[in-house]
């Protein structure tokens, strides 16, 4: 049985990660369109869109799978359970990325696919999968 609700220091992290993953997935479509539609002739706005998506994917990956932080955090946010959850999230993100790349490989037999077109989508899927998996695991202790 769970005891009376107390302030959970990981709640903010979970909410931030969930919102970030949602924004990432929504922005990924625009970035993929930007990459595919200009055939190498990228405009400044395309660089910004794709760069922003990749940066957000990197931030989510770091927060969901490592204890990396630019500022000191509550030690309870990096305890044994959090480390186990991060390891599981990293493995989940890896397999999501693996599945995405395998699908792209198979697809390349039927369509002309370039790395520049596949990479942002694959990275977004891997990062979002790891982030959301971490959030779900963290909720188990509620």
């Amino acid at each position: 049985m769970v005891e009376a609700k107390q302030r959970d220091p990981s709640l903010r992290r979970r909410r931030t990660l969930t919102a970030s993953a949602a924004v990432l997935l929504m922005a990924a479509g625009g970035a993929a369109e930007a990459v595919a539609s200009h055939d190498g002739q990228w405009r400044l706005i395309d660089w910004v869109r794709v760069g922003a998506v990749l940066f957000l994917a990197l931030v989510i990956s770091l927060r969901a799978t490592t204890s990396f932080s630019l500022r000191a955090r509550d030690p309870a946010l990096d305890d044994e359970l959090a480390r186990a959850n991060r390891a599981s999230a990293a493995a989940f993100g890896f397999w999501a990325l693996f599945a995405c790349m395998a699908a792209a490989f198979v697809g390349s037999f039927f369509f002309e696919l370039r790395v520049v077109e596949i990479a942002p989508t694959a990275l977004v899927i891997g990062a979002a999968a790891a982030g959301l998996r971490f959030v779900l695991l963290e909720r188990q202790g509620e």
Binding site: V2, E3, Q6, D8, P9, S10, P75, A76, L77, D79, E80, L81, A82, A84, E138, Q140, G141, E142
Partner: protein
Amino acid sequence: MKGETLGNRLKDVRTEAGLTQAELADRVGVSRKTINTVENGVFVPSTLLALKLAAALGTKVEKLFWVE
């Protein structure tokens, strides 16, 4: 080995000691969530954490955990 799980009576011992999950968590340096998941059998603690829990509750680790 297959199918073995870790049984525990952490909740009973903690309650007998008059501690809340948060208080026990503070004593061993983990989050309340970690204590909750160990009590519910969701998370299997490391040897280090099991020993810390036993020490914090003034008991032996074998009294807290066993293989089922």
